[in-house]
Symmetry: C2
């Protein structure tokens, strides 16, 4: 049976190292009705990155045109490059009945909150800051000073969690993934009180 | 790990014949942390009915004393007998971290809404009125005039569904049961905005 109901927009944030990427991969694997939103960026593709899969690679002019037309649901600038969520693709997927997951930073999430009030905001947190530190060290890919700056950033991000609708503690990946699926399922059963 | 969080109070209503009893049985079987609230009544036990399992059988005096002390979360009178939900048992279970399911009629649910604003109200509906009629006839236990009066009552009850928080359509029992479990799970992840 085709799902005629409009899809739900799920915005997911959480500090680097909390495991949100792994959790979301599991959610996507187990739920075929979800579209994982691909960001647009003006930075050059890195080796192995494909247009439309890792990012939509567009020019600065195109990006700024999109911004001026209100075509970005949220965007930010990092070290001279833009990153953002193209509105048209997300809205088209929702219209078709797909749920859309946006994995974005807290500031982007706050922009979405204003632009799309019906968006569902989920914050994924590590069980503790100590555990987050362990995970970041365990990755073995970053130097200690990078890890320290990530932890500082994480502490700041954690302060935004009360702005979200749901808090998922990523203690066990499979449980966290089930919880996100449950949030999506129950949000669809909510009775509209407008 | 023990769940230290307070449990959730889930109020479930739905027209007779929609299959809510069967759905809830499945939910209870698959979720050990749920307490199914037993009503108190002043009517005499029927053959096979046990005190504390099917009902708490109490006297009219005891029931009225409870009402006057505010000891009933909701109650109603039918053909000279009282039926109601004892507050103390429900609150004690919630305090211990159990989720509590109350299967009650719409009027009782509206009383709970006022008494316990944080209660979660779920309406279980049949896929259609035609399907409800089929199911009532299919039971084979009631005469046609009884079925007709049940259908009339169902139509009235259906009008209350917008007063509820969630709507679960019982098309397939296992899906409806999963949906109720998802509602409970996601409600626990909600960030308190008080």
């Amino acid at each position: 049976m085709m799902n005629k109901q409009k899809g739900k927009l799920l915005v997911v944030s959480g500090p680097s190292g909390c495991g949100k990427g792994t959790v979301l991969k599991k959610v996507l694997k187990e739920n075929s009705n979800i579209y994982y939103s691909v960001s647009a960026t003006t930075r050059a593709p890195r080796y192995g990155e494909e247009n439309g899969i890792h990012y939509y690679f567009i020019t600065k002019e195109e990006f700024e045109k999109k911004i001026s037309e209100g075509g970005m649901l949220e965007y930010a600038e990092y070290v001279g490059n833009y990153y953002g969520t193209p509105k048209d693709i997300v809205l088209a997927k929702l219209e078709k009945g797909y749920d859309v997951i946006l994995e974005i930073e807290v500031k982007g999430a706050m922009q979405i909150r204003k632009a799309v009030p019906e968006a569902i905001l989920v914050f994924i947190a590590p069980p503790s800051m100590e555990e987050l530190e362990k995970r970041l060290i365990g990755r073995g890919t970053e130097k200690l000073d990078v890890i320290k700056s990530r932890l500082k950033k994480a502490e700041k991000e954690m302060q935004y969690q009360n702005e979200y609708d749901y808090l998922v503690i990523n203690d066990e990946i499979s449980i966290a993934a089930e919880e996100i699926a449950a949030i999506l399922k129950s949000e669809k059963l909510k009775i509209n009180k407008n």
